[in-house]
């Protein structure tokens, strides 16, 4: 195929909901590149064009990183402002949230974040902050603001960009594996997703903004790739930019650039050559840098959950850490199964027809249950920060109500018995755990932008902190046991419950998403705790093993299976002994639809296109000798025939369609139509005795869309990607009819 096949408009592009042909796009790109390199010596202008082609990849990811950082900064500031709007307002400077409003007030007391400059809603209407009336008014305003935000989010999504709902990561995984979903990464989706995630998070729902940030970054990547035709017109090359953009998305969501690159490698991308690794690295770096420079909140917010513990962990603590990993795996498996059950219920019942109402009801229930418990009332990120942090001098929460005297800020914290505040806090935390688990099951998958990371981290942090407090009190009450002797007998605090919270958070998140390396890197970039890599790794491994033993798929793969996307997972191994002949189309009683290379007329081809629905047709020498010549796509045929009828004179229904370059013999009748340009003369073929393991491997590694099956050199049938997917599902005893798209 030469470059001049582009003169037929639309050739080389794909239809919506179709799989791309990686081989064809990579070949086109290589040809384009060779053409530019050859022309480089011609003139200075061509030299410039060559240089532009070489650096366009880097410029593209630079712009993607810039815009992602800016959008992430806007989302952070907007969300943090809107969240506090549920509680009150700062009248003099309404754009400040509670913490910023009280930032420079020079009152001396240590009230828990409130100050005279910040007005709670109860204060505006009843001039008091305490009392039953104030509580009721605050409750009412909390619910009202939450419902307003949720209503706005749901109706904006429904009205402007229905693709903006959900997390986005399952669909981006499918897109990156070679599927086309038009407008999924478009500008309206970008705007509505950004606005929607701000509104959803502020509504107090049990969701996070990390998954949507990946979607937003991919939208930015998709839009900016159209500035560079090298990427915009070639779907396979565009996916390099999208991988880099996904890395930038996680990088700005967590402030974790390296974690973002590893996340893109492990979770989201399908093909990840080294060149994409460099580009993702650069993109994540630029995005993190821009976000850091925009960050208006001061130095203390640069690392999301910055922790600094006084003491390292004891070796024996690995046992409770692994125990936390196992518990995290159980919680995560329960969450995945329950969420899938609920999503399936929503898909097939009447509930799915009332999306906005569903959002409102869930928000109402969440707000009503969340307000009384101070640990669910606060922002989930604040809760996680509180659970991770050590009980030091500046921690006023009842969780830190120990019987200890703080005589000196700079000395080590002594071990102490838990006061009554700690017991009450532990009960409240356990209630919060149950409530968050149930609410997240019903929240994830709603028709508003929603993410999963922060709720999972919160669940794990609560579990970990409770276990940590238990261990700490064990060490205080029985300091003579051999496991605690040594470090714990000096009177200083040797068990840090915050570390347990961190490990628990990593365990649950790892169990839900089945990440390993990227999880550990994200956790220690989130907390700055590089000394705790070994506990994190131990917990992540334990959680993954338990999760894999109980249920094979992580949450994203499970949603891909639920939606029926044509995603061929590269992690599973195909272990059955079927052959290519068992899977190929046509089945026994059907005939193979072929096109001959020079004996079909335009009318014949149009009839064939109408009567069959295949996406492509093999071209053979003749109907008697079905020797393979090549493969032609339905879309290309349609476009070429329509173009020919419009532009070329003398083409009628009786014109012969020639797929070879030889001159036709006859001169009577209408002039023939030469369509060699749209024929792919190098289709991948296998023989009918090829084992399906090899065929599945080829589909995975080469990114094929279809392969032709031959027998003794003659064409026998076609295997498409959908056939492979259905076969894999059938072999795993699942319903093959759930594979929906082409």
């Amino acid at each position: 195929m030469t470059d001049t096949s582009d003169d037929i408009p639309g050739i080389g592009q794909y239809d919506d909901f179709h799989t791309i042909d990686w081989q064809r796009d990579i070949a086109r790109d290589r040809m384009r590149h060779r053409y530019i390199v050859k022309k480089r010596q011609d003139s200075f202008w061509d030299l410039l064009k060559g240089a532009h082609d070489a650096w366009s990849g880097w410029v593209c990811v630079l712009l993607v990183g810039l815009f992602t950082g800016c959008v992430a900064g806007v989302i952070d500031i907007g969300a943090s402002w809107m969240t506090d709007l549920k509680f009150g307002i700062c009248p003099q400077a309404f754009w400040l949230n509670r913490e910023q409003c009280c930032w420079s007030s020079n009152e001396t007391s240590f009230d828990s974040g409130n100050c005279s400059q910040w007005y709670a809603w109860s204060e505006i209407f009843t001039s008091s902050r305490e009392g039953f009336g104030a509580y009721v008014i605050s409750y009412f305003f909390y619910i009202m603001w939450a419902m307003l935000f949720a209503l706005l989010a749901a109706s904006l999504v429904r009205m402007f960009a229905p693709y903006a709902c959900g997390s986005g990561i399952p669909e981006i995984k499918t897109i990156l594996s070679g599927f086309i979903i038009r407008s999924y990464l478009g500008k309206w989706t970008l705007i509505i997703k950004s606005v929607g995630i701000m509104l959803s998070v502020s509504a107090g729902l049990s969701l996070g903004k990390e998954g949507p940030m990946v979607h937003i970054a991919s939208c930015i990547g998709n839009i900016l790739s159209y500035l560079f035709p090298k990427y915009g017109r070639n779907e396979a090359k565009k996916r390099e930019i999208l991988s880099a953009a996904a890395a930038a998305g996680v990088s700005v969501a967590f402030g974790a650039p390296i974690g973002g690159v590893l996340f893109s490698l492990e979770e989201v991308s399908y093909y990840f050559p080294l060149k994409t690794l460099w580009r993702s690295f650069f993109c994540a770096l630029i995005a993190a840098f821009i976000l850091r420079s925009i960050n208006p909140f001061g130095n203390e917010h640069s690392v999301l959950f910055y922790v600094e513990y006084n003491k390292p962990w004891i070796f024996f603590e690995l046992v409770p850490f692994i125990g936390l990993g196992i518990i995290g795996g159980f919680i995560a498996t329960f969450f995945i199964k329950a969420n899938l059950w609920w999503c399936r219920f929503r898909k097939y019942s009447k509930l799915g027809q009332y999306p906005v109402t569903e959002v409102l009801i869930v928000t109402f229930i969440t707000a009503v249950i969340a307000y009384p418990n101070p640990y669910t009332r606060m922002n989930t990120s604040e809760l996680i920060y509180l659970l991770f942090s050590q009980c030091g001098i500046s921690n006023q929460d009842p969780l830190c109500d120990y019987n200890r005297n703080f005589t000196d800020v700079n000395s080590a914290i002594e071990i102490a018995a838990a006061g009554p505040g700690v017991h009450k806090a532990v009960w409240l935390l356990i209630l919060a755990l149950a409530m968050k688990l149930v609410m997240t099951i019903f929240t994830f998958g709603m028709k508003v932008p929603c993410g999963l990371f922060i709720p999972s981290l919160a669940l794990g942090a609560i579990t970990g902190r409770v276990v940590g407090i238990g261990m700490e009190q064990l060490a205080y009450n029985y300091p003579k046991i051999w496991i605690f002797s040594g470090e714990c007998s000096t009177g200083d605090d040797c068990i840090t419950p915050g570390l347990y919270a961190m490990v628990g958070a990593a365990a649950v998140l790892g169990g839900v998403t089945r990440m390993t390396v990227s999880l550990v890197v994200i956790m220690f970039e989130l907390t700055g705790g590089v000394r705790y890599i070994v506990p994190l790794m131990a917990a992540a491994m334990a959680s993954k093993w338990v999760g894999d033993a109980l249920g094979r798929q992580g949450i994203y793969d499970a949603h891909i299976a639920l939606n029926g996307y044509p995603f061929l997972d590269s992690k599973d191994e195909f272990q059955h002994t079927t052959l290519a002949a068992d899977v190929m189309q046509p089945k026994r009683n059907e005939t193979l639809a072929v096109i001959t290379q020079d004996s079909m007329t335009v009318d014949d081809i149009e009839t064939l296109l109408k009567e069959t629905e295949h996406n492509g047709y093999p071209v053979v020498v003749s109907k008697e000798n079905q020797y393979l010549v090549g493969f032609v796509l339905r879309r290309d045929l349609n476009l070429a025939l329509a173009n020919a009828r419009r532009i070329i004179d003398g083409i009628t229904g009786q014109s012969l369609v020639i797929f070879t370059s030889a001159q036709p013999v006859q001169n009577l009748g209408p002039s023939p139509l030469k369509l060699k340009k749209i024929l792919d003369m190098a289709p991948i073929t296998v023989t009918d005795q090829t084992p399906m393991e090899t065929v599945v491997d080829m589909f995975r590694k080469l990114g094929l869309r279809q392969t032709l099956v031959t027998h003794n050199g003659r064409l026998l049938g076609v295997i498409t990607k959908k056939d492979v997917l259905r076969h894999v599902k059938q072999m795993d005893n699942e319903d093959p009819n759930t594979v929906l798209f082409n």
């Binding site: 420079s104 240590f110 009205m159 693709y163 979903i181 909140f297 929906l740």
Partner: protein, 261 residues
């Protein structure tokens, strides 16, 4: 009656705003945390909670002498040197201008979107009804962009029982191709069935069972030759194309539940 309530609420808010003392919203501060006085002096009447002292001083004065001692001069009574080592001071920076700009931008964007949404929901159908009436005679027989005007009752798209099975098997027969942008209208018949099927390009239905059931109505997108001359019409055409895309997405997600469950 409602107006009175509104006036009283706004008066209350303004009163509160006006009656506050001077507020401080600077961008720099020095934050010091000290334990309570009971640790140095058992006889004071102060409480046992920790103290947080914030002041706006230059960075070199952000220590015990510069911040804590002047603030607590009256209460220390000579114990200043004992409380100083137990306190911790930090100098912090922030930028409120960025916060202000971003929050105002966000408010603007959300208001614009809400106004546009209200416009599309309420005023657009009224406008389009009038415009549609003028264009009934320009029907284009060859190729029309499919647009649906199925009211959002979705009576037939409930996905349970035999209709789903039929739909799924039908979709399998069509290999699930979801190309919808062009269909050939057959004989000017408008389909009235509720179940929606999507057809491939240029598919001329053969018999009633496979008839093209996508509702085809004369939308605003047709009759391009007259409209293309006008820039405003071109904008309207783009908007219609976008509306169609959104409607298609909505159908996929909310009605047929094929994506994003």
């Amino acid at each position: 009656m409602y107006r009175k309530v509104l006036y009283s609420i706004s008066l209350v808010i303004i009163f509160h705003i006006a009656s506050t003392q001077s507020q401080s919203y600077e961008d720099k501060r020095c934050k010091c945390i000290c334990p309570s006085f009971k640790t140095v002096d058992n006889t004071t009447q102060e409480g046992t909670e920790r103290m947080l002292i914030i002041d706006n001083v230059p960075p070199n004065k952000c220590n015990c002498d510069g911040v804590i001692l002047p603030r607590l001069a009256g209460k220390i009574k000579g114990k200043g040197q004992e409380i100083c080592p137990r306190c911790d001071c930090k100098y912090e920076n922030r930028n409120t201008t960025i916060i202000k700009v971003v929050v105002i931008i966000v408010i603007w964007i959300i208001s614009l979107l809400v106004i546009y949404m209200l416009f599309l929901m309420c005023l657009d159908p009224l406008l389009n009804k009038r415009v549609k009436a003028n264009y009934q005679e320009h029907t284009n027989e060859d190729v029309i962009i499919a647009s649906d005007s199925i009211s959002p009752k979705h009576a037939g798209t409930s996905i349970n029982g035999p209709s789903r099975h039929f739909r799924d098997s039908y979709r399998n027969k069509f290999s699930g191709s979801f190309v919808t942008t062009t269909i050939v209208r057959s004989g000017g018949s408008e389909s009235e069935s509720e179940v929606e099927f999507l057809v491939t390009n240029n598919h001329r239905p053969r018999d009633d069972r496979e008839r093209d059931d996508t509702a085809v109505t004369v939308g605003n997108g047709q009759d391009m030759h007259v409209r293309e001359n006008n820039v405003l019409n071109r904008v309207g055409h783009q908007q219609d194309k976008w509306k169609r895309q959104v409607r298609e997405q909505r159908r996929n997600i909310y009605d047929r539940h094929t994506m994003l469950n």
